[in-house]
Amino acid sequence: MEAYNYTDIQCPPPESSEIELCRILYSEDYLTNMGYMRGIMSKNEYSERALALTEKIINVCAAHYTVWEYRYNIIKDGSNHNKIIKDELIWSENIILENPKNYQVWHYRQLLIIELVSKSSDDYNVEKEFELIDKSLIEDSKNYHSWTYRTWLTKHFKLYNDKNLSFINSLLKSDIRNNSAWNFRFFLLVNNPENYIEQDRKSIINGLVLQKELKFTENAIELAPQNQSSWNYLIGIYEKFNLDINNLKGLSLKYSNFEDDKISELEMQPIISSVHALELLARIYSSSKTTVDKAIRAYDLLATKYDPIRVNYWKYLSSSLNTT
């Protein structure tokens, strides 16, 4: 980085206090640079040296909101606007990959993209952003910021497309328990705020895509019957489309072996393969007077045997059946 001179910038040191709370042992460098930053910001100087200074500060404390705002204003002020923003995209990509959990840099990226697309006459392909998001998910496939940004990008530019879906499929293939991917799948295919490819939306309602999703989820359950994500997704679809939950009785029986409760407790082989199945079965049983007893028995088994950490919760559900 080019060395700039800031010695002409005047900034009085921050007010000190005889007694402070949480006095931080700052480095000399930090205090000097923050002094320059305050001085240069108070003058609204939009210059290359100001830009370089914002980078120094961001590198040591990325949570400084107004430094990001200042940097953004310098970028917007510059001539050869599109080139500067494109350079800035490359710069911020590195910051993102180094600090994927920083709120400010993702927000900054969003501002840059909006600015570039609104002013740009050339055809910047916003789908390039997916490459950055995908990279940021390699280290941590559940990074909240990456997913929030993906949702924003998809909504803002209406990118409800197969590319998005095939990425989700590949993530779920490598980790069927990635709930962030399940959640995005729900957003993309089921919630579908902008009517993802009108034709497909209709076919969801017609049952084609819906059937495909139900099949997909059942396969996922087969792979990992105790996986909370796939059961939540399945029930989510049923509720979204007002489907009759009783239709899931067969599936929940398959993974709960409830009616065939014979295997001895001493055996290491679990007699149920999913607490979520047993829970769902209990919910189905509780909807009819003739089977309420079975529901109570299922909750009792969950409380005492299969899922005892939630003993109070299962008893709470069970007692609500007793009283009604």
Binding site: A63, Y144, N183
Partner: protein, 432 residues
Amino acid sequence: MVSLPCSLKVAKDNTAKIYDRNGKYHGKKQYNEGTIDDGELKFHLKKHLNYFRMLLNFLPNAFQSNDPIKMSVIYFNLIGLDLCKGVEEYNNKLFKTKKERSIIIDFIYKHLVESGEGFRGSVNLKLPLVDRSNEMNESLKIVGNYDPANLSQTYFALCILLTLRDESMSQRIDRFQILSYLKRCQLPNGSFKPLLDIYGKPFGENDLRYCLIACSIRKILQIDKIYEIEELKKVDINIENLYEYVLSCTNYEGGFGGEPFDEPQAGLTFCGIAILKLINKLDSKETNSRINYHKLVKWLCQRQIWYNKYNKQELDEGDNGIYDNGGFNGRTNKASDTCYAFWCSASLKLLKLEKLINVKGVELYLLNETQDEILGGFMKNRKSDYCDPLHSCLAVAALKLLDSEYVRELKDIDESLVISKDALNFMEQLKW
């Protein structure tokens, strides 16, 4: 030996789970058939008091990156100290004279921005005043500077002043300046951004965190009490839009995400529920019809982790370890983390259902896995290298909220503002 909430059946070859993914050995504990041999569980009150006191005095260089949000660091240490009944002592012993106490309070007011619209996070952000009357700023529509109030730092500063029982608060703070700033930070969709940019427009990411912070500030300033006065309604934030935004953040799993369609997360779910509480909509008929409480409660209860022989496949194939047992994760299929014990407990407490939580499990996780028994404080999880103020404060708060037998002597906590009940009582008797 501790009596466990349930028996733990781990096959002997499973003891390898005590190593983390880097191969680092984590256990002084032996995971045996049926029980965990931990010795006695103990809450190290004196050590935690020392931890909070130590950090309130002095922070190592590693905290430098937190400088812009230093008010939040002070908040977590001070609230932790207060819950451990250390603030009175702090006021009486450490600062022997009234003068010293007032220096501390003045120090907090050094963070109040000149316009009175709120607080900055650190004195290092304070800009020198520059006379710009001759410049062309008017044509650029610059109305502010790069040293605005920040909503989160304002909330933390107000809580700090309440905790220090600052009697001068109602004189030194112009609550209508702050309220007007809140209003300008609100977007048409009802959500909030953390600050105003130099053009007076909301800047930063908007999500449920800032919505809760705005509601908390409004509550602390007791704006809700004067809401009946018609003229004041005009300067208040738009509660209806906020309400719609909060409801739009609910998700098919049952919890709240930060923005519409985001994955539900326990901290953000706490924000959603606490907002509804603070705007008096938690028990309303309308909310009852628009929120699936049953699913929300289920989702919150699902956050507590326990592996046994029936979900062994999850332990073998998932990312978590047997040491996550008893703790809470923040999202489905994630690992335990100290702070989610608080966010989930506080959420259920707001719903008056905290009894659903398995307190023994929480105690086991916090006291055994994340408590630093030597220096005091709590870690984020057992893979952390050191404790931090946020997790230390929230671990103490979670235990107290759940009425754990190990922290009976601690102060009660207000679960919606996350300050001690004492500080809340002080707040309520303040005359504005």
